[in-house]
Each structure stands twice: as C-alpha cells, then as structure tokens.
C-alpha cells in the first residue's frame, strides 16, 4: 500500500467507521473486518491506526464505549455512535460528496449535473 493510498484511507476512515456504527454497535476488530469484507479486500486498516481515530471520535463526543464480558475473563469494548456523531457523519458525507464531485470534474469524469458550489 503506497503512502498516498494510506493518506487517502486515513481521511476516509472516520466516515466509514461512523457509517458502519450507524447500523449497529461494533468492536474494533469487527470494524476492521467489515472494512475488508465490504470493500472486497480493497480497504484494509491496521487496528492500531483505527483505534487512534476511534479515540479521537470518542473524545469529541461522537462515539461512546461500553464493555461486555466475552467468555469468562475477557471483556470486549464496543463503540456506539452518539447523536452528535450522526450529525458529524452527515456533515462529513456532504463534504465528501462535494470533494468527490470536484475531483471527478478535474479528472474529466462524468458527474451528475447540479449547482456549482459557491
């Protein structure tokens, strides 16, 4: 994976993690597995990197966490998206759509016609 791909992925991780968490509460390993499965292996992320992003989202109040007992001794930390997180995701998706369209236009790719951004 090239550095540019890594940088791009890092930027997308917040959106993707928040989106997945909109459907259900998930734990860290589960999120990385879903990234891999749903992207057909195109989007993989190291747990260490993901956790730092999740911590930032939690610190900002977009996510909360709780633990559940797994087996006899182990606990598992689940992430839950808060209302503020859903709002933040909406904002990120809007920005993502704008940027994607802008990039597509620059690359001379076809996009849906709409009002240009002022």
């Amino acid at each position: 994976m090239s550095q540019s791909q890594e940088n791009f992925k890092r930027g997308c991780t917040e959106i993707l993690a928040l989106h997945l968490l909109c459907k259900e509460d998930l734990y860290g390993y589960q999120i990385t597995q879903l990234f891999n499965e749903k992207s057909g292996g195109r989007f993989t992320m190291l747990e260490g990197t993901l956790y730092l992003i999740l911590y930032k989202l939690e610190e900002a109040g977009y996510l909360s966490t709780y633990t559940e007992l797994v087996g006899k001794k182990r606990t598992r930390k689940y992430y839950h998206i808060e209302p503020a997180g859903r709002e933040y995701l909406k904002k990120l998706l809007a920005e993502y759509d704008e940027v994607s369209k802008g990039i597509a236009l620059i690359l001379d790719r076809e996009v849906e016609a709409d009002e240009p951004n002022k």
Partner: protein, 201 residues
C-alpha cells in the same frame, strides 16, 4: 492455548517498547490491541504467533503507525517526559556513585593509610631492635596511636586516638605484658570508664 497467550503478551510488550506516547494512551492502545488479537484468535483458531504477525504486522510497524496518528505535540511531550526521567535517573546514579566513592575513600584511609614514625625498626632474624616509642598517624596527620615500650621490649603504655585527635583509650601494661590499667574517654575528654586489673601473685 497458553503458549500462544504468552507469545501474544510478548508481542504486545514489543509494541509497547516502541510506542512513544503518554502512559495512559499506551495502556489504552495496548489493551485494545490485545482485545483485537484475541478476537482474531477466537475467530480463526490461530495457534501460532506467526499468524498474528502476518495479520497484524510487525510490532515496530504497528508502533510507527500509531505514533503517526498521534498529534505531534503529544509525541513531543512523551519524548520530553522520557528525557526528563532519564536525566533524573542519571543524576541519582551519579550522586550515588560520588557518595559511595567518598565513603570508600574514608574506609581506605582507615584501613591502609597510617604512616609509621619514630625510630626505625630493624628486623634482622633473631636480632630485633624495637623502637623506644612509636607513633602511628592517620593519613590526615592526626595521631592514631602512641606506644611506649619497656626496655625489655614489652609495651608499657598505649594511647589510642580517634580521627579528631581525641584520646579514646589509654592502656598501661605490666612489664610482663599483661594489662595493668585501662581508661576509656568520652569525646569531651572526661573519663568514661577506668579499670584496674588485679595482678596475679
């Protein structure tokens, strides 16, 4: 299962060693990584640590990834704390070595550092000539011991002084070498104890 548990903990220790961040952040990250690894092991039934390395990566790479996500000021702060702690440890160890060296010097002074003064001692087989008196000094020039002999060579009197030159013990001997009297003194020069020994008839 126990074997891989130990290997996992060693793997996490390696990551921890390479991580530069606050202690609380380190603890949280390592705990979360531990959970992910055990989730992976539960799902895949992995029994070999190599599977962990394959899936999660080398400890140094993981640590580097994590550090690259941490804000630079947090990493700088962690480095600073690390340097301060290291400097503190070096300062304490250096101070300890200096103090230890001082005490070693003092000890050596007591053990092997007196200068003998008085008439020279000649030892020539059976022909021994002992000094009429003998003064032993501490290395700093203070008298340590003063000995007076009888003409027959037996000790007549002996005075023992402390490092400050204060008389500690004064012993008087009979001509046959047995102790006649012994006086011990306090630091202020007053008599602490005086013993007179009865002479056998």
């Amino acid at each position: 299962m126990n074997r891989i548990n130990k290997d996992i903990e060693k793997y996490l220790e390696e990551i921890k060693k390479n991580l530069v961040c606050s202690a609380s952040q380190k603890k949280t990250v390592i705990n979360d990584l531990r959970n992910s690894i055990y989730d992976y092991v539960d799902e895949t039934k992995a029994t070999d640590i190599e599977d962990i390395y394959s899936h999660f990566g080398q400890p140094e790479d993981i640590a580097e990834q994590i550090i690259s996500e941490i804000e630079p000021k947090t990493v700088k702060k962690a480095f600073k704390v690390h340097k301060v702690v290291l400097a503190g440890v070096i300062a304490i160890v250096t101070t300890f070595i200096i103090i230890l060296g001082f005490y070693i010097d003092q000890w050596k002074e007591d053990v092997d550092s007196y200068i003998l003064e008085g008439p020279a001692v000649e030892i020539n087989g059976d022909d021994q000539e002992l000094p009429m008196d003998e003064i032993v000094y501490y290395k700093n020039g203070v008298i340590k011991m003063y000995t007076i002999y009888y003409e027959n060579g037996a000790i007549k009197e002996q005075k023992y002084y402390d490092r400050d030159g204060v008389l500690e013990v004064h012993t008087i001997y009979n001509t046959n070498g047995t102790v006649k009297e012994e006086t011990t003194y306090k630091k202020d020069g007053s008599v602490k104890n005086h013993i007179t020994y009865q002479q056998p008839e």
